[in-house]
Symmetry: C2
C-alpha cells in the first residue's frame, strides 16, 4: 500500500494528507440549519451536517491531494450516527480516488489488536461472506503495548495490502513527558523508532515499508534525527499549520529522493474559511477556501522543504 | 464514580469485572444460526447473535458482579452493527444495575482526547440538547501522549462523575518492551504510575481517585510495587484466568482495607462453557456456565488473595 501512496503523491505532486476532523464549530451554520430542520437537534442531525460538509470538502480537493485522514474521535463523539458518517466518508473518499488514513490510534494486547486490525484494515469472515467493516487503507497505531500489540496490524498490512503509522514522537506539547525520557542514553522515541524499523522489515513494499511512523512537525530537530534512523520508513507528519509547524520545518522529514514524508493539515484546510486570509470565500465558500488552503500549503512545502 | 464502584464491590462482595469480549468463536452455533436465519450471514446477523449472547450473560451474572467491561474492539470489528450492539449492551448492563467499564484504550492529543472523553464518558451538546453518545461509567486510556492527552478525560471524570483506568503495566507478553525500560533508575511504568497519582489527585472521590490504573495480573511482582506507589489508586487487573493469572497472584494488588483492585476475567467467564470444567452446561447453558465461573472466580480470589 505504501507504493500506491507514493505513486499518488508523485502523480499529484503533493506530499499532503488532508485531515477530516470536523469539529461541530467548523461546520457552517447554514449547513447545520438544513440538517437540523430535517433531523432535529440530534446526533443524526449533526452527522448529516458533517456528511454534507465532508462531501463538499472531498469534491473540492480530491484532484489536489493523494489522501485524506479522518480522525475517528471526531465521529465517535456523535455516537452511532457519527460513525455512520465516518463509514460513508471513507467510502466516498475512496470512490474519488483518495487513499484513506484512519486516524484511530488503536493498540491493545494481541487478540484485541487483531480485532482492531480487522475492523479498520481487514475483512471479517462470516462463513463464506467476507465483509470490510471500515475499509481504510492505513491506520495509526499506538506502540505502548509492544510487539504483540503491533504484529496483528503488520499481518493485516501483508494480508490485505494496507499500511500503518506507529506513534513515535507525537506533535502535542506534553509528548516529551514519556517519549523524550532517556533510556540507555537515548530517548524512548528512538527505541520505538528502532522497533518500527524492525516491524517494518516484515512488510516492505518497494523502497519503503508499509509500517510508517508518526513524528510531529512541531519537533523538527527530532524529525531530523528520526529521518536518518528510519531511512525506509514513511513519516506521517501532523502538527503543520494550526499546531505551529511551517513549511521550512518540514525539510528534515524528507529523504533525498524527495519522498518519505506525508504532511497532515486538518483545521488549516477544512476550517480555512474561518481564517482572516480566506474570509472572502464566506461560509458558503468553505470548500473553495479549503482548496485555496491546500494550494497555499503545497506552495509553502515546495518552497520551504525542497 | 470510584466511590459508587467501591460501594457495589462491597455490596456484592466481589472485586470482579466481567469482560464482555464476544469473539465470534465464543457464540454458540444455535444462537448464530437463529440470527443468521433472520439477518443473513451479515454484520447485522453477527451483531444480533452477540446481542442475544450478551443479554443472557448479563442476566446470569448481574447479581454477582459489580461491573462489566465490554472490549470495544470486539464490536468495532463488526462495523456499525457491531457498535450498535455495543451501545445496546452498555444500556442493558446499566439497566441491570451494573457499572460499565468501556475498554477502549483511547488517547490522543488534547482536542482529540476531549472528543473521545465526550464520546465515552460525557455528553455532546447540540444547542439545548444534551446527548450521551456511549454513556459508559469508566474508560481505559493510553498514556503515551502524556498529560495533555489525559487531562480531558480527568475533566470528564469531574464534570460527569466518571472514572478512567490508565494503562501502566499491561498484561501481555511483550508489555515490557517499552514499559519495563529503565529511566533514571526505574522502569517507565513507575514514571507513568507517578503521573497517574498526580493526575488522580485532581479527581479524588473518597479515599480513592477516579483516575485508576491498569496493571496486569500476569506481573504480580510489578503489581506489588505499584500497589505501594499508588496507595489511593484503584487498579484494574486484567490477565486473570485465560491469560495465566491466579487468585494467589492477586493478593498484592489489594490494599489492607481489602479494596484497591478490580479483577477482570473475560473469556474465562463468557466462554466458560467451552472449558472442560463447565462442559456439562452444554452450548445452551453458556450463561449458567458463566455464572458458575464467576462463583468459582470469587472463591479463588477470596481464598488466594485475602
Amino acid at each position: 500500500m505504501i507504493k500506491k501512496l507514493i505513486d499518488e503523491i508523485i502523480k499529484k505532486d503533493a506530499p499532503i494528507v488532508a485531515g477530516l476532523d470536523p469539529m461541530l464549530s467548523f461546520i457552517p451554520e447554514y449547513l447545520k440549519k438544513r440538517s437540523f430542520e430535517e433531523y432535529g437537534q440530534t446526533l443524526e442531525g449533526v452527522a448529516d451536517a458533517i456528511w454534507r460538509f465532508n462531501m463538499q470538502i472531498i469534491d473540492a480537493i480530491s484532484d489536489l491531494v493523494p489522501a485524506v485522514k479522518p480522525q475517528v474521535a471526531m465521529y465517535e463523539q456523535f455516537g452511532i450516527p457519527g460513525l455512520e458518517t465516518y463509514v460513508k466518508t471513507i467510502k466516498y473518499a475512496k470512490e474519488k480516488g483518495l487513499i484513506v488514513v484512519a486516524d484511530v490510534k488503536r493498540g491493545d494486547i494481541g487478540s484485541t489488536s487483531a480485532a482492531y486490525a480487522t475492523a479498520h484494515l481487514g475483512k471479517i469472515v462470516i462463513d463464506r461472506n467476507e465483509i470490510e467493516p471500515f475499509g481504510s487503507d492505513f491506520a495509526t497505531v499506538n506502540p505502548y503495548l509492544g510487539t504483540d500489540g503491533i504484529k496483528p496490524f503488520v499481518d493485516a498490512c501483508n494480508e490485505f495490502d494496507k499500511g500503518i503509522f506507529v506513534l513515535v514522537k507525537t506533535s502535542n506539547p506534553s509528548s516529551g513527558e514519556f517519549q523524550d525520557r532517556s533510556i540507555d542514553g537515548k530517548p524512548l522515541y528512538e527505541h520505538v523508532a528502532e522497533k518500527v524499523v524492525e516491524w517494518g522489515s516484515a512488510s516492505m513494499n518497494g523502497t519503503y515499508s508499509n509500517v510508517g511512523a508518526v513524528v510531529g512537525a512541531t519537533y523538527p530537530e527530532v524529525g531530523e534525527k528520526l529521518r536518518k534512523l528510519m531511512p525506509n520508513t514513511y513519516i506521517l507528519v501532523p502538527g503543520y499549520g494550526a499546531q505551529g509547524g511551517k513549511g521550512k520545518d518540514l525539510k528534515v522529514f524528507f529523504n533525498n529522493d524527495g519522498l518519505g514524508a506525508l504532511v497532515n493539515s486538518s483545521r488549516g484546510i477544512i476550517a480555512a474559511y474561518k481564517q482572516e486570509e480566506y474570509k472572502k470565500f464566506g461560509d458558503t465558500g468553505f470548500a473553495d477556501a479549503a482548496r485555496a488552503a491546500v494550494l497555499a500549503m503545497k506552495k509553502d512545502i515546495k518552497e520551504g522543504a525542497f
